[in-house]
């Protein structure tokens, strides 16, 4: 097969926290054959949490009468009424501030941003009023709030509707940042987020809303919840670790299929959580495979991949057989034209090529656009 040398793990090279393979296996074995779209998964999670706890409310533009800009809140206004499903005026700063105040006083708001691009209007409240409040008030003011909405690139929506905010929010202590990929992630992480006493930024993806994924009976149960801060190994492998989140997990899995046919066994990690970042799982995987490719749609500088790379260099430097490869969106505001847009976001081929580079495989130079 491949002539990849394996480093011998030197005694004493194991850090204090140890190397434990955290069991992040999938909950379901899909034996039942049930499928659910991400949209329905989110809707059912919201419904169940609102039913279980009367202090949970949903607010945002178009969430009520319109059933949600992306129909994620379909049926909720009819079921819970306008007191708990609130159509807000157009002021992200305003309704976010209001929601934070409601959270200060004991409600559990779920704030929907039509896209996280619009959250920039509210970012002062997210960071200064929500994230830092528990600390600044020395534990007197907790903010059990969830900010959710589509994040990152959609299709043909241009520069002001396509930015990925994972790196921005994940840099702030006091916030938790979650990034579901499939329906099970969507249900389990949203339920966990709503129940969490800390402010959570919940980054969805518009293009995933309509995608259907198998879902297990456990995941359909109303008490189902995924732990925050644990990544999931979507596919085991031994030659290279590919770390991705949100839509890119799907691309990474496709890339892994292609790589498998060429004799490269890729391990795909679905981060599920950017803050806290599951450094243990990533490091454990890299210590096994000795190669790392990170994939994200966001801008390259100061991105999520940069943080993962730093973590590996700090914790597992001797285990790397090749430099870390970061696959990111292009360092340009997102263009609109379909061909340009395609070039500005990572594609499956980019991941495949990067993985091969880490395996010292030669890659054809000419690439078709």
């Amino acid at each position: 097969m491949s002539a990849i040398l394996r480093k011998i793990i030197a005694p004493g090279g194991i850090p204090a926290w140890g190397i434990r393979v955290i069991a992040s296996r999938t909950y379901s074995s899909s034996a039942g054959g049930k499928e659910m779209t991400v949209r329905d998964a989110l809707n059912s999670a919201l419904d169940e949490e609102m039913s279980a706890d009367p202090s949970v409310l949903l607010m945002g533009e178009e969430v009520g009468e319109y059933q949600g800009a992306y129909k994620v809140s379909k049926g909720l206004l009819d079921k819970y009424g306008p007191k708990r499903v609130i159509d807000t005026p157009i002021t992200e700063a305003g309704f976010t501030g209001m929601a934070v105040g409601a959270a200060y006083h004991g409600l559990r708001p779920v704030v929907e941003f039509m896209t996280f691009n619009f959250s920039m209007q509210a970012i002062d409240h997210i960071i200064n009023s929500a994230a830092k409040s528990n600390y600044m008030s020395s534990g007197q003011i907790s903010v059990p709030i969830v900010f959710r909405g589509p994040n990152g690139a959609a299709a043909g929506v241009g520069a002001q509707h396509s930015q990925c905010y994972a790196a921005w929010y994940a840099s702030c202590p006091g916030l938790k940042v979650l990034v579901p990929y499939n329906s099970e992630d969507a249900r389990g992480l949203l339920k966990a987020a709503i129940r969490d006493p800390d402010p959570v930024v919940f980054l969805e993806n518009e293009l995933l809303y309509g995608e259907s994924f198998p879902i297990s009976a456990e995941a359909l149960d109303s008490s189902f919840c995924l732990p925050i801060g644990k990544a999931k190994i979507e596919r085991e492998g031994k030659d290279v670790t590919i770390v991705a989140f949100s839509k890119m997990v799907g691309y990474a899995l496709q890339a892994a299929e292609i790589l498998a046919k060429e004799g490269v066994s890729a391990e795909v990690i679905n981060l599920r959580s950017i803050r806290p970042l599951d450094r243990a799982t990533i490091n454990t995987s890299v210590r096994k495979t000795n190669r790392l490719v990170t994939v994200e749609e966001g801008f390259p500088q100061h991105g999520v991949g940069a943080e993962i790379c730093a973590s590996i260099v700090e914790e597992s430097f001797e285990y790397l057989d090749a430099p870390v490869e970061r696959i990111t969106g292009a360092d340009v505001p997102m263009p609109y034209a379909a061909n340009l847009e395609r070039m500005a976001v990572p594609q499956v081929e980019d991941i495949v090529r990067a993985a091969k580079r880490t395996c010292y495989r030669s890659v054809p130079v000419a690439v078709n656009a």
Binding site: K83, G101, L107, S133, M136, S138, Q140, P276
Partner: protein, 477 residues
Amino acid sequence: MGFYLSKSRTVMHNLKPKLGSLGVMFHQSSGIASFSHHQESQSGLIKNLGAGSCNRPTLFTIWRSEHFKAEKQLDCKQNSGGPQVLNFPGGNVKFTSELDFLPEGLEERVHCYRILDENGQLTSSNFVQISDELAVRMYTYMAMLQTMDTIFYEAQRQGRISFYVTAIGEEAINIASAAALQLDDPVFPQYRESGVLLWRGFTLQEFANQCFGNKNDNCKGRQMPAHYGSVKHNYFTVASTVATQVPHAVGAAYSLKMDRINACSITYFGDGGTSTGDFHAALNFAAVMEAPVIFFCRNNGWAISTPVGDQFRSDGIVVRGQAYGVHSIRVDGNDALAIYSAVRAARQMAITEQRPVLIEALTYRGGHHTTSDDSTRYRSAEEIEWWRVAQCPVSRFRKWLEKEGWWNSDAETELRASLRKQVLRAIQVAEQVEKPPVADIFTDVYDAPPSNLHEQETTLLETIEKHPKEYPPNFSC
């Protein structure tokens, strides 16, 4: 009107204009009968303007009475054929063939509710009576705030604390408004309302501890001085961001409304804070959601060095409430009785009618913006001095107390001496207490400390142990 009703949206659209969104109308609330006198004089002002302007048209400022009155009260006698009306989205609107622009403001500034004049003389009996006990208590706390501010300010100048914010000139706003509220009413302050927290029971020692950031500080040394907060006193922690607390108060009010609690929230902000987007969104939201919140604006004339003339061109803040459909009043911010009455009435209105209320208190910022400012650089010392002496809310209230026979110069001397001693002692004690333990760097970032912070704390403690000479001797762990 009771609590929140789940009306359909179309019904709400039709209801709104009928509730008199234009004009400063006060609903008759039970128990505040004394308010009606003020109501008449206010709407009398409006009526006079309306009638008068029919006779003195100018290019842009013809002020029609229709603009003020709700449709059902219209009695202006033009329109012989009957005006045409259309039910636009938002309600019935009458047409007019007059090409009129609303003027940028009224001929006269909105009147200011005042009871005590500068000499402490009652100018009217139209206020909420208070007992001698409450009056003396209010005065004591106004003097306490004044003393605390003076001495803490000096402490900063001496280098003993790094920073301080005084409320000089705004003692009546602080204490009288707090006295008119209940402990159940959550307070969302800006940063010049420490008197409200003082009234609620935060001790001088606790204030001093926070300013010194010592280990007894209930904020664990996390914040700059004067950024107090105490959940026990229903006073939400001061943040440096301007006017972010205004929409927070609306959210909290919504929470009170949902839980049907017999309380309202109150938020304080300055003239400068009203320029923010947050102010606009908060007022707008509160009106739409019918949230029981009091918006209290301390219009003290200055936002650091920006005078109100550079801040806005409206007649202060009171006129803006109307634009959002919010009941509003302007009060003399140096008159404790006026403030007390206004806040009592506002609270009653907010709770029983489930609506927001805006109070604009006109006053003057007697001190610098903070200890990092020297306001003599942008305003004259004479101006400051005049306001501090002639309009001092504390001495005005004292004069009234003395006239009532509830206070005298002996009591004054005794009180001042006692307060000075208490404040000085609080500072002396706070200065000696150790700083917070190192562990307090890492707690409260989240509800439960995450593993990475545990690791960092361990590493830090190991480092301190290894290199004790590189850390201050009073570094507790």
